[in-house]
Amino acid sequence: MKKNYRIIFALLLAGLVFSCETRFEDDIRVLARGSVVNESGAAVADAEIAVFTRRGTSSIFSGSSSSDEFLLGRNQSQSDGTFEVISLFDRDLDFSIQITLDEDHTNYAYLTSTVEYLPDDLVFDLETVTLKTIGTVLFNISRISEEGTSMAYSFNYKDTRCVAYFVDGELDPDQSYCLEPITINRVLNDNRPDIENSFRTPFGTEVEFTYSINDAAPITETFIVNQSTYEFNFTY
């Protein structure tokens, strides 16, 4: 009887080992094509275009090293900004084409489910993708008024991520997320009267800084990020 259990265990173990194989679709290649420009409309060369099946461990921009197991194809944009990526194909809920340049530019991801969808011509045409330059806002808020003064503040700006979700080749705005507005807020008081921090946002973003001192009516100031490092200093 004991022997039987061992045999069953060995068979289960063998099944587990062999079930770990990943096999992409046989006898097929797809083509991802388009062009990459910056916020001025100028061609962007050397952007990396990577085709993945299944997302990385935590997010679609979790980094190539952790996701290379599911990398189907990769290439770079040419000097005129155009790209063509010959890629393997896989049927999966999370089929993506990710475009990245460097840390100073926004990313772009084309997401779709290929469980039942495959373009008739085997071409994923991303047309023109804009990667905007990212600026870093360094803000420094310090209290110069008397102790006991408090201030609530918030920054409204645009996120640097762009995920376009497609269903059967059509953009689905409800599931897409592209350079969406984002807000950070905080209250400064005697426990922490000053703060120095930063955030990143694409060039051209109009940042709204809203503050309220001692629960007074909020006041909003705006500024446009148009340089790689924008310093914002405020005292209350």
Partner: protein, 226 residues
């Protein structure tokens, strides 16, 4: 239905035929007739079956995805030939060859390819000189399987298939009546079954590989089948 099945059946039938002919030889017949003139000498060199093994270096060529991405390292073949009528033979071969992928932008993402093939061929063996044999053969039907591994772990992979045609020639030296050593050149041309966007059709529809190698061949029997 897979086209590999008829080939496997043919190979099986060929193997059975060869086995029956080889083992049906009269073991008491040990006297080998001495060649007296050219036809008789040629007749004395007739054989029934040959088994061979060869190693080769594959070199992809042409203007196609395989030539522009794959770097061949090594390959091997097992072959079985049945001499049907004098020097005319039918044969079957199986083998693998191994490639590294130098440029994933041309192919999709994988690092290594194991190219497995089997084919059924027809050929003729010339006897130009004493102790030498020159063979030529062409594939009648053949299949190839490209297993594209993403890494050495072989856990993540993809497979392409193709129809194979080999054009091969070998030059063999008879060490003795049974054993020969040979050099062999094969030009293989695969018509792939890969679906691609129309703009890439010509780039993916065919592959070509030059194979140059050497091997050992064992001859059995003293007469062709007919």
């Amino acid at each position: 239905m897979s086209s590999t099945l008829p080939i496997k059946r043919l190979a099986f039938v060929l193997a059975c035929l060869c086995g029956s002919f080889v083992f049906s030889q009269d073991l008491t017949e040990t006297t080998i007739p001495e060649p007296q003139d050219a036809p008789q000498a040629q007749s004395a060199r007739e054989r029934k079956v040959a088994l061979s093994f060869d190693l080769y270096r594959p070199s992809p060529s042409g203007n196609n995805f395989f030539a522009e991405s794959a770097s061949g390292s090594l390959g091997f073949n097992f072959d079985l030939q049945l001499f049907v009528y004098k020097q005319f033979f039918l044969g079957g071969g199986i083998g693998d060859s191994y490639f590294d992928n130098k440029d994933i932008s041309k192919t999709g993402n994988y690092e290594k390819t194991t190219l497995s093939s089997h084919d059924f061929y027809v050929g003729y063996e010339f006897l130009p000189l004493e102790d030498f044999r020159l063979g030529v053969a062409v594939t009648i039907v053949g299949n190839s399987r490209y297993k594209n591994n993403q890494s050495n772990t072989r856990k993540v992979y993809q497979v392409d298939h193709g129809n194979l045609r080999n054009y091969q020639t070998y030059f063999a030296y008879e060490v003795d009546r049974t054993l020969s050593v040979f050099i062999k050149y094969t030009y293989r041309s695969d018509r792939t079954k890969i679906q691609v966007p129309s703009a890439l059709n010509s780039y993916f529809e065919k592959t070509a590989v030059h194979q140059i190698g050497f091997g050992l061949k064992l001859y059995f029997g003293e007469k062709s089948v007919f």
